[in-house]
């Protein structure tokens, strides 16, 4: 006897199935192009990178590599195994951290200050807003040329040397040196042109996002602060900055990642800086080397390293990714939404009791 089914039951199942299909069908249609590009050009290469860092991969000859029992990672973390690589990696690490520590706050506070000023809507503020963003649309090559021209030596008729008589050999001399964990770290003058180049054009995006955020701070909060007797400075601290906290967090996140991955400016201006004799032939063996420079030297710039030490480059970039992940993790933890406690209400009850 043919299987019988209550019509209503069948209708419900059918609509459920179509519903399911329609929903997932639609999401597929919307998401597919993006996810496909994301998977093929990010996730697979990423895991291919991990795969490379675990094998002695030869750049030219894929497929013949064998497991190298974490050789590259040992090299980065174990000083005795390959001191040259160890020293140049961790020197680059120190350089990156120091520069980021100096640069990130500036790259957040400067655009914030300017955004607040522009938000006062002085006459002609539209023009100022355009001019402030302009330096950050300059491509790396163009701004590189300008700053090299600025900081060239007297004999090459650099602008600073000619017009202001500042004779320091920017790309050769060292500014000062200090010792850290028993090593002396020399800070080259070359960091100053790099600092100015980052200062000049690095934070345009932040400026736009912050000035957009400032528009959304509700006006009546400023009036309330006025009535409560705030000075302008305290108003900025208690109304403006908390008002644009989400934008600030976004800018902080992108700026930290941006300056951890500092490479373009160093490459264009000082090519890794005056070389340090002890690690001269190592990847990124200079005084203005950064983590990304170490990786790029291995992966792209130096052909001999590229063909045989590609695994080390991949390993170094994984360590870099891990390290950047930790820093952004900390940053996200610090700027998370505070949970509401119960401390004060308890204190109130006690106080109420006593009276």
């Amino acid at each position: 006897m043919a299987k019988t089914i209550v019509l209503e039951e069948y209708a419900k199942q059918r609509s459920k199935r179509i519903g399911l299909f329609k929903k997932y069908g639609i999401t597929a249609v919307f998401l597919l192009p993006y996810l496909a590009a994301f998977i093929t050009f990010f996730v697979i290469p990423l895991f291919y990178g991990i795969y490379i860092s675990l094998t002695n991969f030869q750049y030219g000859k894929p497929g013949i590599e064998t497991f190298n029992s974490f050789m590259w990672f040992k090299m980065i973390f174990d000083k005795s195994y390959m001191p040259g690589i160890y020293n140049s990696f961790w020197l680059a690490f120190v350089h990156t951290i120091m520069f980021a520590v100096i640069m990130v706050p500036i790259a957040i506070l400067l655009p914030l200050g300017l955004a607040i000023l522009v938000n006062q809507k002085p006459p002609g503020f539209k023009l100022f807003r355009a001019l402030i963003y302009m330096p950050s649309i300059v491509p790396l090559t163009a701004s590189g040329t300008i700053f090299t021209l600025l900081f060239m030596s007297k004999s090459q008729h650099g602008v600073l040397a000619e017009f202001f008589g500042i004779e320091t050999m920017w790309f050769i001399d060292t500014w000062f040196s200090f010792n850290l964990f028993g090593q002396t770290v020399e800070i080259a003058y070359a960091w100053i042109p790099i600092f100015f180049m980052c200062l000049w054009g690095g934070w345009g995006g932040n400026f736009i996002i912050l000035s957009a955020g400032l528009q959304n701070v509700p006006k009546h909060l400023y009036e309330a602060a006025d009535i409560d007797g705030c000075s302008t400075w305290r108003k900025i601290l208690n109304v403006t900055i908390p008002g644009i906290k989400p934008q600030l967090v976004l800018c902080l996140f992108t700026t930290i990642l941006g300056y951890l991955g500092l490479y373009g400016q160093n490459y264009v201006l000082s090519g890794g800086g005056p070389s340090i004799a002890a690690i001269a032939s190592m990847p990124a063996g200079g005084k203005t080397s950064t983590l990304m420079y170490f990786i790029q030297d291995l992966v792209a710039n130096n052909l001999q390293f590229k063909s045989s030490l590609y695994g080390l480059g991949a390993a170094a970039s994984l360590v870099f990714a891990l390290f950047a992940g930790i820093i952004s993790g900390i940053q996200m933890y610090l700027t998370r939404e505070k949970k509401t406690g119960t401390k004060i209400s308890e204190a109130y009850n006690k106080w109420h009791e006593i009276r």
């Binding site: 998977i39 996730v43 697979i44 990423l46 895991f47 291919y48 991990i50 795969y51 002695n56 750049y59 030219g60 000859k61 894929p62 497929g63 013949i64 050789m71 390959m82 001191p83 040259g84 690589i85 030596s153 004999s155 090459q156 008729h157 320091t168 050999m169 790309f171 050769i172 001399d173 005056p274 070389s275 004799a277 002890a278 690690i279 001269a280 032939s281 190592m282 063996g285 130096n302 052909l303 001999q304 590229k306 063909s307 045989s308 030490l309 695994g311 080390l312």
Partner: protein
């Protein structure tokens, strides 16, 4: 919150597994004729499809339009000469062999080679015309075939005996030739002999103006410095249609106003030597070598090189050496008397400009009759080999030699048909040993651009000697036998880079505020050598 993290981790692991499998699959399909790449020495991938005449020997005329894709590293200006030669070859072998040349600048030739080899194998060239230093390095990476066996198989008569073995040695590894040498050239020193003559600093009674050895070179520099400091030094500007009248340093250049004068008046006998070839000349001339017997970095303990570096420090400190600045601009205006640069510029640019007719027509632009008449004043610019590199500790046989690199033709592993190999070898033989109808070698045409032939018979041929007599560069470069080519090593890039960084580091230290002492310079040399050694150990690790 934690439930969310667990879900996230599980998703991540699924993603990881999926993509690693995908990676391996992708890598698998990526391997192209792997065995061909692994062992650099085997040639068994080549299919023997040679058209043989009745007597079983290969006959070139039977080839039907074999296409060859040649990458050349030659840049302008001698790029045109090469293209003419290839056009000539294609005409001669029309229908049989046709060579298509892609010229890739020396700036990114090897980068292109690597990336096409790794990712875009179908576009990999068949024949490479590249620097001879990198020959062994890239051969051992599995890019080129050993040629001796192939030459015998095809029976094309390339007899390496004719080649100068001091140039040929860079193409040999374990007794096998990986490339056919074409030419060789070193960095020449450009000299203002008119200033030397005018100020009476010439040798053998002010008739010879090229210092032949170390002492002569040193006395010349000190003489120029003394005169420049006292202001009595006579200089003049030999740029095209500039005023060529002599003037003494102390009363300044008459036709430049004060502002221009301020930037021009610092005078240095010689600018820093240009990096690569001068360092290697100093090393090889004094019997040194980059690697010692058991493959360790050895350039740092060569006495000659140390002397070369101490000279750098002392001469710079005593203002005999000037800053690099713009050599091509300072030389004609009389700001510097000597600087060293590649030979390719000499023939068709510097020579034409600076030994121009204006200097020999009296009366115009401040040229006196006596200047016009005198052969030295008429063409003040001359070129010479860096004789002065040899230190007194230099061994006799290398004392009068100098370092030179050159070009070489190689056959890449892309080629899998014997016909193509034969065609390549024919071209190589044509270029290096081939003669046109009235007997002068094709190689001579190429050498006119400023290269010494790597083959003895071509050097001794009268077609070459006639061309050499006419060209100022070739006469200056003299006999190819004096050239010491780079020892054949797979670490050429790192070693040369190590030496260059060491010398460059010292030169920039000299420019720095607190200058540089000899001890510091030698210390830096030692440190850089150690780091190069470490780089070598690293590469060994990687290559294994």
């Amino acid at each position: 919150m934690r439930k969310n993290v667990l879900k996230f981790l599980s998703l991540l692991t699924i993603l990881a597994l999926m993509s690693t499998t995908l990676a391996i699959v992708m890598v698998g399909c990526g391997d192209k004729n792997n065995d061909n790449k692994n062992d650099p020495t085997n040639t068994n991938a080549i299919v023997d499809d040679l058209p043989r005449g009745e007597d079983g020997k290969f006959d070139a005329t039977l080839l039907e339009n074999v296409q060859l894709n040649l990458w050349s590293v030659i840049g302008l200006p001698d790029q045109e000469i090469l293209l003419d030669l290839v056009k000539e070859f294609n005409k001669q072998y029309a229908g049989m062999i046709e060579i298509k040349v892609t010229s890739v600048g020396h700036y990114d030739y090897y980068n292109a080679l690597d990336s096409t080899y790794a990712n875009d194998y179908s576009n990999f060239p068949d024949v490479c015309l590249m620097h001879n230093e990198k020959n062994i390095e890239y051969a051992l990476k599995g890019y080129f075939y050993p040629l001796d066996e192939l030459i015998d198989k095809t029976g094309i008569g390339i007899d390496f005996a004719n080649a100068y073995d001091n140039i040929e040695k860079t193409t040999i590894h374990d007794g096998k030739h990986y490339g056919i040498p074409i030419d060789a050239h070193g960095y020449l020193t450009q000299i203002r002999q008119d200033i030397i003559k005018k100020n009476g600093l010439g040798f053998d009674g002010n008739t010879r103006f090229v210092p032949q050895n170390y002492e002569e070179y040193q006395t010349l520099l000190e003489g120029l410095r003394a005169l420049a400091d006292s202001g009595e030094l006579w200089v003049r500007n030999i740029n095209l249609d500039q005023d060529h009248s002599w003037y003494q340093l102390k009363n300044g250049n008459p036709n430049l106003d004060a502002a221009a004068q301020a930037t021009v008046d610092n005078f240095y006998p010689v600018f820093f030597h240009s990096q690569e070839s001068d360092n290697l000349t100093a090393l090889y001339v004094n019997g040194g070598s980059l690697l010692d017997a058991n493959g360790k970095v050895a350039f740092q303990n060569n006495e000659g090189l140390k002397q070369y570096i101490t000279d750098h420090v002392n001469r710079f400190n005593s203002k005999l050496y000037g800053d690099a600045g713009n050599k091509e601009a300072a030389f004609p205006t009389g700001q510097v008397v000597m600087f060293s640069e590649g030979p390719w510029q000499v023939a068709n640019t510097y020579d034409i400009w600076w030994n121009n007719k204006q200097l020999s027509t009296a009366g115009k632009l401040g040229v006196t009759e006596e200047d016009a008449a005198d052969p030295i004043y008429a063409n003040p610019y001359t070129v010479a080999r860096p004789y002065y590199m040899a230190d007194d500790s230099a061994p006799a046989e290398t004392a009068s030699k100098w370092y030179g690199n050159g070009h070489v033709i190689t056959v890449t592993k892309k080629v899998t048909s014997m016909q193509k190999v034969a065609a390549a070898l024919i071209f190589a033989e044509w270029l290096t040993q081939g003669q046109d109808e009235n007997g002068n070698y094709n190689l001579t045409e190429w050498c006119k651009a400023g290269h010494l032939p790597a083959w003895q018979n071509v050097y001794e041929s009268d077609s070459y000697q006639a061309a050499a007599a006419k060209s100022i560069t070739l006469t200056a470069m003299g006999d190819p036998a004096d050239i010491i080519a780079l020892e054949s090593t797979r670490y050429a890039t790192t070693l040369i880079a190590g030496l260059t960084t060491a010398v460059g580091d010292i030169q920039s230290q000299l420019l720095s505020v607190d200058g540089c002492t000899v001890e510091l310079a030698l210390e830096k040399l030692l440190a850089t050598a150690n780091s190069t050694q470490e780089a070598l150990n690293l590469l060994n690790l990687g290559i294994k």
